[in-house]
Amino acid sequence: MSTPASDGEVIAGSVREPEAFVAIFERHFREIHRYLARRVGAELADDLAAEAFAEAFRVRGGYRPLTADARPWLYGIAANLLFKHRRGEARRLRALARTRPDAAHDDADGALDRVAAAALAPRVAAALRALEPRDREVLLLFAWAELGYAEIAVALAIPVGTVRSRLNRARAQVRRELGDEEEPGTLAGMSGPAEGAARA
């Protein structure tokens, strides 16, 4: 059985055989779209994700695979596009921050976490909006895209140490916005009695 080509091999091969790049789209489009949809909403994510892969194809000759898969590179392109839409993202977060929690509608079985998440969502939105864009980018690449420090460093072309410092700063700021006020019954407290007790 042959081993599937790595992303790096596919991209390198696509320089001579452009059609090969479709494999990168098939492997990663939905993941990149999901990240973009969380950042800017599904409608704009449709456009940005399409643009991200078109852009990736155009610049594939400059791909430098310091990581084994192309996700950090693709997230870097997506982040670049998001930067141009940062005002739209800020507006979206502002709107979410003004949304009144409406947990009453979320009454399905096992919905405790979702209820808690809905209750906390406006404050999380406000906290994310208050972050410096570069700190928010690192935090969300870590929390939502699940990239590691080294991968974020590749995606954003910054040193790993800078990733760490930005992530620490972002976490501290979000904690200040949320943590000091959180009581059992919020997202963290609702996740289980033991956590609530531990926090008390």
Partner: protein
Amino acid sequence: VPDVLETVRRFQADPPAPSDAAVARAAARLRAEIAGKPPRRRRRRRLALALVPVALVAAGAGYALHEPARVDVGPACGSEGKIWPRGMTVLAPDSGDPVAACAALWRKGEVMGDVTRHGEPPELTACVAPTGAVIVLPGGGAGFCERAGGSDLPPGYRERRERFAALYAAFRARFGMASPTFECMTDHASAGRAARRILEEHGFGDWRIETSPEPTGGSCAAVSLDEPRKTATVTVHP
């Protein structure tokens, strides 16, 4: 203390998946690009490298803010004569002289931002941002960098850049999968030995090597270079 990361992870956790129609449109867009027939609305501005604007400006933050003499080595080209330009293109550390490299991008109209014209570049000057990043900006003359919000390049920058560029190129040749001399190493020990050898061969014997628990997402070792911290981080998929 609440788990901040978990709280953030749960926020907007279930975005709608792209519709089949959206996937089809995106695939068609890519195929048009592959066929050399991009849609008419394609922007004239292009990314020379797929990197985030302002990311490099902030590179070294946390170090440079306390030690302003430090200068990061990977330069960027800015689209306007201020240290926080609307658009930037980040160059690889081994791109050669920053001003010459940025001039080449200006000629091709590939400096991000509001640059749409092609042709001879304006006068370009390399400045240092307060964070320590080097940015080549349009403009010049006495005191230009200071007026732009930065400072002039420190003495010795060129030599330092050239040394680091050679190191970066050596790592890319060994660890970059597009390189003909790429060697896939699957454990920290062998990757660390290779990294140490490269560092010493290029006169960077005082650098530290760290291993990262974060997976690369694949099977081969990856290395990231943190010049301000003099650290090479080796990452291997568990």
